[in-house]
């Protein structure tokens, strides 16, 4: 699991570097594209400082982070789809308090980072799922899940994303990720999930 996280971070940093490079010289861009060696050409902090938003990764990833060559190829050769999934997946879950759809500070911090990624991919369409823990009735939780998904969508729209690219869906308490009956499980189940829709 850890390996994948590091890989994703590296992939993200490559992606960020690529995005940031649009503001830099073409030479840098070309270098990045043609780079096949494991290490990304750009050190991480530099591209971050050119972006208007805070860096999307929390920890400073060493530039020499080994990345398997074939995966790097895949990342650069395949459609943007995979890149977005990976970028979104690596972020913290977005969780809520009991019977609430308010975005907590930790959720907002995560959403801000994700919004930044989505802003860089303006054609991507995202489905926002709202989920609840089991301590509510079926019909009430379907409604609460809608509120949670809508809460996230509202944040994204206020951030500047196109609402037409954002759809919401509630699953109420029908799809918990943790089946246990304790607060640890419940707090995980009270969540919003983002899915990138495959390009039609």
């Amino acid at each position: 699991m850890k390996k994948i996280n590091l890989f994703l971070i590296a992939v993200l940093s490559i992606g960020l570097a690529f995005n940031a490079c649009s503001k830099k010289t073409a030479a840098v861009q070309t270098d990045n594209r043609e780079t096949i060696t494991p290490s990304p050409a750009q050190p991480l902090p530099q591209p971050a400082s050119t972006r208007p938003v805070k860096p999307a990764v929390k920890q400073p990833v060493p530039a020499s982070e080994p990345v398997q060559a074939d995966k790097t190829d895949k990342e650069q050769g395949i459609t943007i789809t995979t890149a977005i999934e990976d970028k979104i997946l690596q972020f913290d879950a977005i969780n809520f308090d009991y019977d609430s759809y308010e975005l907590r500070p930790d959720a907002i911090a995560t959403l801000e980072k994700i919004a930044g990624v989505l802003k860089e991919n303006p054609t991507a369409t995202i489905t926002i799922e709202g989920h609840c823990d089991e301590r509510g009735t079926v019909e009430y939780n379907l409604a609460l899940g809608e509120q949670r998904a809508h809460s996230v969508k509202t944040y994204f729209v206020e951030y500047g994303l196109n609402p037409d690219n954002l759809s919401t869906i509630s699953y109420g308490k029908e799809k918990p990720i943790d089946p246990h009956h304790n607060e640890a499980a419940w707090s995980k189940n009270r969540r919003a999930v983002l899915n990138h829709n495959e390009t039609e």
């Binding site: 759809y101 009735t137 019909e139 609460l144 809608e146 509120q147 509630s170």
Partner: protein
Amino acid sequence: MKIAGVMICLTYFFTVIGRGQTDVFLKIQSSETRKINVAVSDFSTNQNSQLAIDLRRIIVDNLNYSGYLKVFNPSPFAESDTLIQNADVLISGDITSKSSYFNFELGLTEVATGRKLMTKSFRSYPFALRVLAHTVSDEIVYRLAGDYGIACTKIVFVTEQKGGKELALMDYDGQRITMLTHNRSINLLPSWSGNGKSLLFATYAFGNGPVLANYDFKDREITRFVSQVGTFTSPEYSPDGKKVAFVLTREGNSDIYVADHDGQNLRRLTNHPVIDTGPSWSPNNHEIVFSSKRSGSPQIYIMDAEGGNVRRLTYENKYNSSPKWSPRGDQIAFVTLQSGGFQLCLIDITGENLACLTDNKASYESPSWSPDGNHLVFTSNRNGRWEIYSCLRDGSLLRQLTYSGGNTGPTWSPRLKPFN
């Protein structure tokens, strides 16, 4: 002393008749309406004694569960003067087997006077034994108590399967479970039409979130109901079948709407930025009870059937939801969240006489009334897995109906002509 005697009798009956559920989770005083005592003799038969035994056993089970009757000495029946003295009515039956079918002759006799209260003949087939037993039982209850029994009714519920949650159908006693949907999606919140011919429910099978769909029992077809933008949940037919109430969510806000039975002519009934959900009609079609968070916590409210005149019903506890109006018109069943989970409660429509039926040792959800307003069906995890249970409205006669786990969201049919 008398109460102890009654409890001993009831316990005996549960042991013999029930499926091992001997505990009564009664928390309120049982209504003191006296049950009619009946004795059911062994049915005479010219051939198939097993048929006679099975038929009698199912009838006795149905009569005991009706809530109106109490069967003495169900099995085996000992011809005894004392027993017959304790029964108001003697029920007898005779089976005459023919080649492929059989005739069943039912007789009801008033014990004190020897007067024949009822005789009736039925023709049936061995494969239709259950249908006959249920039909006979309901007729006995009607003759003796003035109201048709529920033995011919059915229950639709939600069952977890690979890939999702499907709708299933069973007899009121948990027998003959059959699947209704097979779409490997999530199907929820079924609601019977008043004539028992179709269901409305919420399903994800059409993609993009829950919408309403109609299931026709005859055609076994599912069709989309109401095509509008938004997500739809919590449908409920009005008792007269003319309208449908449901919840429509737009821009994250859930409100209650009503439409004609064909899905046309949508009208909005609530207009509140907080959650309004779970509508249920009064039996006279004039009012709707629902759940709303408008006071700051989920509570039960009543409004006119076209919206307006909203009044709050529940003031105790912090989370009251899933209200269902009794077909008798006088009570609302609902669930309230307590330390052990959701508990089943009843409240008069005046807001008085709040009474909870369950033991707060497990969670009980999704109550639904039988058409005679005498029983409730619900789901509970009291045995470790979610199963469907029914009980009398005073909390007695608790009976487990499913055993496979993952069974929730039951809804009781209206009165049905026996089918299948």
